[in-house]
């Protein structure tokens, strides 16, 4: 087993316990999609494309009262070290569902009855915490598509590694660590839209872990905001 943290509290990839991996977001990278975003979250490389609102197919899924949201999270065969079968796996179906449910409270689709908004997420390279990174990209892409939203959704994980609560667990820490907690958060409304926990935490650890994750979400939010401002306003929104 690799050493996940040295005696100085430095993690296996050289970060401190409360340090985020480097995050960069680019908005509007796909010409054919109505909205899109590309995120690099550490070694994660993820593309998100939005189509819609548009006609629902199959027709029976349409809702007369409101628009619906569909989401597909997919990992490319080359996104991991051993080739991944491109067919949707159990894990991908689950992540598609939780991402959809994490975005649902943010989008306002009441004005688009009988339509669907499709969110396509393609993981080009995976490095742990890809569901959070995917959510970050998807929410920026939704804003780029002009879908009305209550707030952006920022997501970040926290976890327990070598008996310490750490921010933003990477692939190695996820596999060898003691707990992993992805959290999605709407920063302006202070509302959590996704919270999963894999591992065992004591009540106090749970509390600090959640607070750490929310702190990470707020950092990610600033990056999302900057990315959108840069795309839409000449001087990056300086006024």
């Amino acid at each position: 087993m690799t050493q996940l943290m040295n005696e100085n509290g430095i993690r296996c990839d050289g970060r401190k316990i409360d340090q985020l991996r480097s995050v960069s977001i680019k908005v509007g990278v796909l010409k054919n999609a109505d909205g899109s975003a590309y995120i690099e979250f550490g070694k994660n490389k993820i593309l998100a494309g939005i189509f819609g609102p548009r006609d629902v197919h199959p027709k029976h899924m349409a809702d007369q009262d409101t628009g619906i949201l569909r989401c597909r999270y997919h990992m490319s065969p080359f996104s991991v070290t051993e080739r991944k079968n491109p067919a949707p796996s159990r894990r991908e179906i689950e992540i598609s569902k939780v991402i959809k449910e994490a975005l649902q409270p943010a989008v306002i689709l009441k004005d688009f009855p009988r339509t669907v908004t499709d969110v396509f997420i393609e993981v080009l390279q995976a490095d742990g915490g890809s569901r959070c990174a995917a959510l970050d990209a998807a929410s920026v892409a939704l804003a780029d598509a002009g879908i009305p939203m209550r707030d952006l959704v920022a997501a970040c994980a926290a976890g327990k590694v070598a008996n310490q609560i750490v921010l933003d667990v990477n692939d190695e820490e996820d596999k060898e660590g003691q707990a992993d907690m992805p959290v999605a958060y709407m920063p302006n409304l202070s509302k959590i839209t996704l919270m999963q926990l894999d591992g065992i935490l004591t009540p106090t650890e749970y509390k600090t872990c959640l607070e750490t994750a929310i702190g990470g979400c707020k950092q990610v939010y600033e990056i999302q905001k900057k990315a959108l401002m840069e795309k839409y306003f000449e001087n990056g929104g300086q006024q």
Partner: protein, 235 residues
């Protein structure tokens, strides 16, 4: 009046203001906070708050003039792509008159797939797809011209205050410009140079819609003397 409007760049979730304001387009109220729902420019005026979006699709409104493209037809109506999430319907009676009969009249003969039409939205509500009409002056099939697509949210800027921007472009290039509220624009001009200039001007407005002094820049691009609305072209 311009001075009383407060503008700001916002993204979804940004709190524009707090207090007793009236929420209008693209904002919502959460407690006493007024929050934006789109990427755009927020405006506060007369106790009302709204956001002019910089992205997003066209939302049909009654009485809007739109440009649509025929994407197909049934025996009773045509279907139009109107650059929206909804498909526009044009009933056959609207074209053939009340005595239209599916056995006698051929819809294809009047409007075929790919044809462009200037139409007005006769009726739209959330329970039904938008109903179009071409029963009016200046409506109907477009025979010639160049189709330009811009963001629907920038159409008001292209028209300008009381049509000032569009008049400037039309006068300087001698072009005929038909603007659909859905962001589709047809430009026709006998002079190919004027046509290219008009297209360039429209694209310029699309790209720089939210920047100040745009009319001045469009004028200088078109070679119109600044400060006056004349129709001479300085070569």
């Amino acid at each position: 009046m311009m001075e009383t409007i407060k503008r700001r760049y916002v993204i979804p979730g940004d709190v524009i203001t707090t207090g007793p304001y009236r929420p209008e387009q693209n904002v919502y109220q959460e407690g006493d906070r007024i929050i934006s729902t789109s990427v755009g420019i927020s405006e506060i005026y007369d106790n009302a708050v709204r956001v002019i979006p910089l992205s997003g699709m066209y939302m049909p409104k009654n009485n809007d003039l739109v440009i649509g493209k025929v994407i197909g037809h049934s025996s009773l109506s045509w279907e139009f792509d109107i650059n929206s999430c909804f498909v526009g319907f044009l009933p056959a009676q609207d074209v053939f008159g009340r005595d239209y009969s599916p056995t006698k009249d051929e819809l294809k003969a009047r409007l075929d797939k790919g044809d462009l039409v200037v139409a007005r939205i006769a009726n739209f509500d959330r329970s039904r797809d938008p109903l179009l009409t071409i029963q009016d002056r200046d409506l109907g099939k477009i025979e010639s011209g160049e189709l330009i697509k811009i963001a629907p949210s920038k159409v008001p800027r292209l028209i300008g205050k009381r049509g000032s921007m569009i008049q400037t472009i039309e006068m300087a290039t001698k072009a005929m410009i038909t603007i659909g509220q859905n962001g589709w624009i047809v430009i026709s001009c006998e002079d190919p140079v004027g046509l290219l200039k008009a297209i360039e001007a429209v694209k310029m407005v699309d790209a720089q819609a939210h920047t100040p002094n745009l009319t001045e820049r469009v004028k200088s691009m078109l070679g119109v003397e600044l400060g006056e609305n004349n129709d001479t072209i300085n070569e």
